[in-house]
Structures are given as structure tokens and as C-alpha cells.
Symmetry: C2
Subunit: 106 residues, 2 copies
DNA sequence: GTGTAATACATCGTAACACGAGGTATCGTT
DNA sequence: AACGATACCTCGTGTTACGATGTATTACAC
């Protein structure tokens, strides 16, 4: 899938992945894989970005000797998803423009 | 509208704008305006990119003392639009993932 | 006749961002 | 002991949208 097309949706995707219940990096990638693939470097960049934007908060958890950082969505994060739904309506109208057929005979 | 979200669709939008009939820069911006806004610098960058990718060809036309560059879509350009439709299906499934409600009571 | 807006093109620098390459460390299985 | 899976992170690079800026002509108002 085209990288550019993914750009606008990746952030929201990650938020959606932690919406139901808190999750951590490695698991987020696995959960999202059937829908959209992203590399670890990309994910951690996004998580950092979302944290700075107060859309999620981080909690460190010791798990089997390894560190796990659990991410929890905030109200702003939930709002971001809602805003995205509105933006998507615009995207749909643009899609209509792109795929419109000007004449009946086509 | 979020810049990132526009990224994947701008190229295809420009192709769609010249699909029906050849057009030139200034007119493309005006035609697209109701659907999606983009600056001149962005458009000319995109047109150059699409030309290099053989998705359109350019024709210089003298018009009222001013130069006009008419852009004509190629077979590859049309194919790009068709490919986009397929990519859009993927985008729709991602959208479903983002907006899914996990429980009935919400 | 002089300013101003519209038309029409173009370039340059910047900031955002996705990703590959690479790094560190632990645990379980072979 | 070796290796894959788990789990985190950083750095450099290429793509890209945009604002700022520049050039030049036409048309119209004052």
C-alpha cells in the first residue's frame, strides 16, 4: 500500500488499537497487522508523538524481566478519533470527485 | 483538513482534474477548490512529478500573450486512478478498524 | 497613466513524517 | 551454546506539501 495514503490514518489507527484496552508497542503492531502494516521504528515515533500531544499516557510495567510500556488513550486521543471521522467525510467527497464519471456512457 | 490525510490523494486528484479534458495549472486549482485546496507551489510540484512518472504529457500553448501549459493524461495516468480505487478499498477496511465499536453498548 | 487584482508560470528552503538499518537486552526452545 | 521471539530505542534518509518569493502580462478602476 502506498506510503502517502497511509500517512493520514496511521496516528488514528494506533489510537484505535489502544482504545478498547491499554496495549504496548509490540502488541499494537501485531494487532494492526491484518489491517495495516507498520515498522517498529514508525510505531515508536508515532507513540512518542501522540504522547507529546497528550493523546495517550504511558505506564511502565515489569513483565517477565522485560520492560513493557503500556499506552492508555486520553480524552484528547478519543477526540482525535472523532475528529478523524469528520475528516473522513471530506475524504469521501474527494473520492467521489476522483472516481466520478463525467458522461453516462462509460 | 489535515495535510497528512491529503497526501495520498492529491496526485490522483490532479489526474482526475485533467481526465475529462486537458487543463492547465491555474484552472486545475480552481476546479479542485470546492473539493480540496492546494497551493500553487504544491500543484506545480505535483505536475512535474506526474510528468516525470509519465502519467501526463505537457503541451505549451500561447494564450493572450501568456504561456499556458496544458496537461494531458496518459494511459499510465488513467491506470494510476484505477489502482487508487483498489487502494481505497484497503483504506475503507482500515477505516472500519478505526471506527469499530468493540461492544454493543456504546 | 498609475495602481491593483487576476492570470499564469516557477524556485527555494523548511518541517513533518515513514522507514530501513542498526543497537540493546531478556526469555524460551533446541 | 545458538537462535528466534519478545521488547525497547536511535539515527539518517528520502518524499512531500507549503509558504515565501519572483517574473510577466492583461484588464479594470480611479
Amino acid at each position: 500500500m502506498d506510503i502517502q495514503l497511509k500517512r493520514g490514518i496511521l496516528d488514528v489507527c494506533v489510537l484505535a488499537a489502544i482504545k478498547k484496552e491499554d496495549s504496548y508497542g509490540y502488541k499494537i503492531i501485531k494487532d494492526m497487522k491484518p489491517y495495516i502494516e507498520l515498522s517498529e521504528s514508525t510505531l515508536y515515533t508515532i507513540l512518542k508523538r501522540l504522547e507529546v500531544a497528550n493523546m495517550l499516557i504511558v505506564r511502565n510495567v515489569e513483565h517477565g524481566g522485560r520492560l513493557r510500556k503500556y499506552y492508555h488513550i486520553t480524552g484528547e486521543g478519543l477526540k482525535r478519533i472523532e475528529d478523524f471521522k469528520e475528516e473522513w467525510k471530506e475524504m469521501m467527497s474527494i473520492y467521489q470527485y476522483v472516481t466520478r464519471e463525467d458522461d453516462a456512457n462509460e
